[in-house]
């Protein structure tokens, strides 16, 4: 789905066709759900927050600027919602793991069982290292290298300037490397915004 298709869906929604919103939900529910899961640590909470994100986006859809990319705008709504929830809920997120056989369905890595075990351990280490980064650095890295967003989209999603987004990605990668190696990072702030 490119920007024109998104714009077509949005125009239809604004003409009163609710079902046209389904295409946008289908397209972007996975990255938003995973964002919420990283924030909340719970599938149920992540589903609720994902639903709330899309409802907020629907309510604000008139304010979406035509010609802009929809995903960064949606992501910024999700991130703001997560920020609100994190302020209200100060308890630590639940223990979670991505080490779930079902969760590897999209990975194009080798299917050999031993290799998969090694990869799983690598992903666990990565998940732990990412979890120790401030949220804005973590999300900048995931948007850049996992969701393959442009720097402009990252800046829009995180409400940063372009240079600010580049700095977050660059610095986040350095911090992640330190955490991943098990060293002492400069800014160890778990789940902080």
């Amino acid at each position: 789905m490119d920007s024109n298709d998104e714009q077509y869906c949005i125009d239809r929604v604004l003409r009163g066709e609710v079902n046209a919103f389904a295409a946008l939900v289908e397209r972007y529910q996975k990255p938003i759900f995973n964002l919420m899961y990283r924030i909340s640590g719970s599938s149920d909470k992540a589903a609720d927050l994902t639903q709330e994100t899309f409802i907020r986006a629907y309510q604000k859809l008139e304010r979406f600027h035509p010609g802009k990319r929809f995903f960064p705008w949606l992501y910024s709504i999700g991130l703001n919602l997560a920020r609100d929830v994190a302020r209200k809920n100060t308890c630590n997120p639940e223990t979670r793991s991505l080490l779930n056989p079902e969760s590897f369905s999209d990975c194009n890595c080798p299917s050999d069982q031993h290799d998969r075990m090694c990869e799983s351990l690598e992903f666990l280490r990565l998940e732990k290292a990412l979890d120790e980064l401030p949220v804005i650095y973590r999300e900048a890295l995931i948007l850049r290298y996992h969701d393959e967003c442009s720097m402009g989209d990252i800046a829009a999603a995180l409400n940063l300037s372009l240079s600010g987004a580049k700095m977050r990605v660059h610095r986040g990668l350095d911090m992640l490397r330190e955490h991943y190696k098990g060293g002492q990072p400069n800014e160890p702030q778990k789940n902080s915004f």
């Binding site: 714009q7 125009d11 929604v13 604004l14 003409r15 009163g16 066709e17 609710v18 079902n19 919103f21 389904a22 939900v25 289908e26 529910q29 996975k30 990255p31 759900f33 995973n34 899961y37 599938s43 992540a46 589903a47 994902t50 639903q51 899309f54 409802i55 629907y58 859809l61 008139e62 600027h65 035509p66 010609g67 991505l98 779930n100 079902e102 969760s103 590897f104 369905s105 999209d106 990975c107 194009n108 890595c109 990869e119 690598e122 992903f123 990565l126 998940e127 990412l130 890295l141 995931i142 290298y145 996992h146 393959e148 990668l173 992640l176 490397r177 991943y180 190696k181």
Partner: protein
């Protein structure tokens, strides 16, 4: 005479410390590349089934005001595509339109506009008494010494030739062209200027202080 050394002949300049630093940087870069690849392959969790239906069931159809729809329509970027070959007739039509618009422009038809342009011009009356003349034209620096359009009118029975012009302020040289061949300077002019060919031109200084009659 020196010869440029090939890379294999150049002395190895990197010190052991610099070599260590290079190796360290290379190692760091490899680590970063591995991390980027690992993030890229990081598995996603699948959202629970039925999430889309759950979201859609809680939405009400929107009713957007017309003005807001118009506002969005105006803001929406559009892409124009064209073929250069098809653009040629359009360009010709456009050029014709511009030319016609210029030709029939109001300022070319409206005398008020001409008057406004002539507001800064000073009225000057040229007179010459030359009894035997059949025709007299006024030539000067203000008409590039071209007699066309500046024929003087015979006035009364005293063979006085008259022409009224509006000239800009400043210094002008002029003379009278009698019967199309004889150049006659203005005898009443207080100033003269040689034309470099043995003739004299009269010199006129036009000022906005008052109308000048020669």
């Amino acid at each position: 005479m020196s010869r440029k050394k090939t890379p294999s002949e150049q002395p190895f300049r990197d010190s052991p410390a610099e070599l260590d630093k290079t190796a360290y940087n290379s190692h760091q870069n490899q680590e970063l590349r591995d991390l980027k690849q690992l993030i890229h392959c990081m598995p996603d969790r699948e959202p629970p089934p039925g999430l889309t239906e759950s979201i859609l069931s809680s939405l009400e159809p929107k009713s957007v005001p017309v003005w807001l729809r118009f506002h969005r329509w105006v803001l929406k970027p559009r892409t124009l595509t064209f073929q250069p070959l098809k653009l040629v007739p359009t360009a010709i039509l456009l050029a014709l339109g511009v030319a016609m618009a210029f030709h029939f422009a109001p300022w070319r038809q409206n005398p008020d506009y001409t008057d406004r342009r002539q507001e800064n011009l000073i009225p000057v009356t040229f007179t010459l008494t030359y009894p035997k003349a059949e025709s007299v034209c006024l030539i000067g620096s203000f008409n590039q010494w071209n007699p066309g359009g500046h024929e003087m009118r015979r006035f009364g029975k005293r063979n006085t030739w008259v022409l009224e012009l509006r000239l800009p302020e400043g210094r002008h040289e002029y003379a009278f062209l009698v019967d199309g061949s004889l150049v006659v300077p203005d005898q009443n002019s207080p100033f003269y200027q040689s034309d470099g060919f043995g003739n004299r031109n009269s010199v006129l200084f036009v000022s906005s202080d008052e109308a000048t009659n020669i």
